[in-house]
């Protein structure tokens, strides 16, 4: 019998990606300004403290952020049947960012918990606004338009807060935070982001079958038992929680949600449901790897991960575009 869209190789692909992720995580625990070899990790001295209290939580946050963005991107592309859709499109990431910026504006960031909580509240409000704007029609065009409206509104409000910031220090802190980074993350961040992100991914996995059915278009999908209204809710909840949790602990990190599903898609036979888990693993891999790179780079202050990702992402995207151009020609 012929292969059915790569489901047989899916287990192998997931195993390979997981192995690569673990390897990169081990490297990320060793690498940085101070190189900490494996035998010092549990020694109890300062070096082990660096690994256990700084690098390990940082790597875990990287995994959560990358997996969230990768899976959210894969789900969004499947839902909109558009390989260029990005998790940022629904406006949830910019509303989460607005929440975080509000807490920075009022100087609430003194407690480690407040900023991510504000970001999650922002994401939640964004999800509610999205659901209210799109209504209960299940119409994809309305939904996408609502996302665009929401992201431009929250973007404008964020700019407003930056321009009204009480001190230049506050505004530079906001701008800096918006660029996205994983530095100085603690176990508290893992505790906040992990459950939210896992819940979001569960919602997205629950939608997997419906995403497959959408391959045949909306009408055929509905006659295959897909409830478009329910699917819209799953997408709002799933994308909202995954992207919200990632913005809450890392700021805005672009390109992961766009590029990762792109790369993984041919490996899974292009099937939207088969794309979700490998995209999460590959997203985690990419973010942890990129975070290693920004840490090792010789620069006076660490390059922000969001900036690094965008500068890595752009040439990569151009490469993809040239490849597409050759295929079109």
């Amino acid at each position: 019998m012929t292969s059915n869209g790569g489901t047989l190789s899916a287990a192998k692909l997931n195993a390979a990606l997981s192995a690569a992720l673990i390897a990169v995580m081990l490297v990320s625990l060793m690498a940085g300004r101070a190189w900490v070899p494996f035998d010092h990790w549990l020694s109890g001295d300062l070096q082990s403290l660096i690994v256990m209290e700084l690098r390990l939580p940082r790597a875990c946050v990287g995994v959560i952020v990358g997996a969230s963005l990768g899976m959210a991107g894969a789900a969004m592309q499947g839902y909109l049947r558009n390989p260029l859709a990005d998790p940022g499109l629904f406006g949830v990431s910019s509303s989460a960012a607005l929440g975080a910026v509000v807490s920075l504006y009022f100087g609430f960031a003194v407690s480690a918990w407040l900023l991510p909580i504000f970001a999650l509240i922002g994401a939640g409000l964004g999800m509610m606004a999205l659901a209210l704007l799109a209504g209960r029609s299940g119409s994809m065009i309305l939904f996408t338009l609502s996302g665009v409206i929401l992201s431009s509104l929250t973007g404008a409000l964020t700019s407003l807060l930056i321009s009204l910031a009480p001190t230049p220090f506050a505004s530079s802190e906001i701008v800096n935070w918006l660029m996205g980074a994983l530095m100085d993350r603690s176990w508290d961040d893992v505790r906040i982001a992990l459950p939210v992100s896992v819940a979001g991914m569960a919602a997205l996995l629950w939608a997997a079958r419906s995403l497959d059915a959408l391959t045949l278009g909306e009408a055929a999908a509905r006659t295959l038992g897909v409830n478009m209204v329910q699917l819209q809710w799953l997408m709002v909840i799933g994308v909202g929680l995954t992207v919200g949790s990632s913005v809450a602990v890392a700021g805005i990190i672009g390109f992961v949600g766009l590029i990762v599903p792109h790369l993984v898609r041919p490996l899974v036979g292009h099937q939207p449901s088969a794309l979700l888990i490998p995209s999460a693993l590959a997203g985690a891999l990419l973010v942890v790897l990129a975070d290693c790179v920004v840490r090792i780079l010789p620069s006076t202050s660490e390059v922000r991960l969001g900036i690094a990702m965008a500068s890595l992402g752009t040439p990569f995207f151009m490469m993809l575009m040239f490849q597409m151009r050759r295929e079109v020609a």
Binding site: M1, T2, S3, N4, G5, T7, R81, W206, A208, R209, D212, A213, L214, T215, L216, G217, A219, A220, R222, T223, L224, G225, V226, N227, R265, P266, G269, H270, Q271, P272
Partner: protein, 256 residues
Amino acid sequence: MALRFDHLSLALRGRPVLRDVSGVIRPACVTVILGANGAGKSTLLSCLAALRTPDSGAVTLDDEPVIGIAPMERARRIGLLPQQGDIHWDVNVRALVALGRLPHHGRWGRGPADEAAIDEAMEQTDCARFAARKAQRLSGGEQARVLLARVLAGKPDWVLADEPLANLDPAHQLDAISCFRAAATAGAGVVLVLHDLTQAARIADYLIVMKEGGIIASGASVDVLTPEVLQLAYGVRVHIGQDDTGAPVIAPIARI
């Protein structure tokens, strides 16, 4: 067992598309819907498949409103082949046909019965030999057969197809017709929207002719496919002849 529609009326953007149409679709029987472009055929089909809710009237399946049946249950019982055959991702043919089994298997995978139904549907539609190819890269007619296989793989009790012959070459038109006939012989109620009058005359056990949202004639093909009805429906003069076997050949000759 029957799929009934009673007094359906529906207006889209203020324009009446269905005007008080009623009828019965029977199992083990091929029903063909004819009519000019814009006569409301596709809209009637989408009401039957519960894709649209009529403004008044109801579609019932064994006296149960189709709108009220749980979506997955309805998907197992009613299969629809839409007119525009969307294929959005670069999946291979077998994966595409397998989508027809979605309402049948659990969330996490297919069983042997699903695989058998997929293979059978691909054999029936002559798709098995390009099972591993990418569906998007097939010709229009090949894609049409793959999409038909997708519907047949679900083994629905009711098969609704909107212009299923439109992109097919003559040989594969005959193949598709025999697929629908086989489904009806196996007990399914088949509803086809067709434009080819000769094919309609040959496959139909029952015909419904629509014009401007209403039904102007229905019944067996000898009673319905008359020059008068076709003139009223399409505004054309037709030639009705016979081939060697005595089966009708209907060709439009001129506009009136």
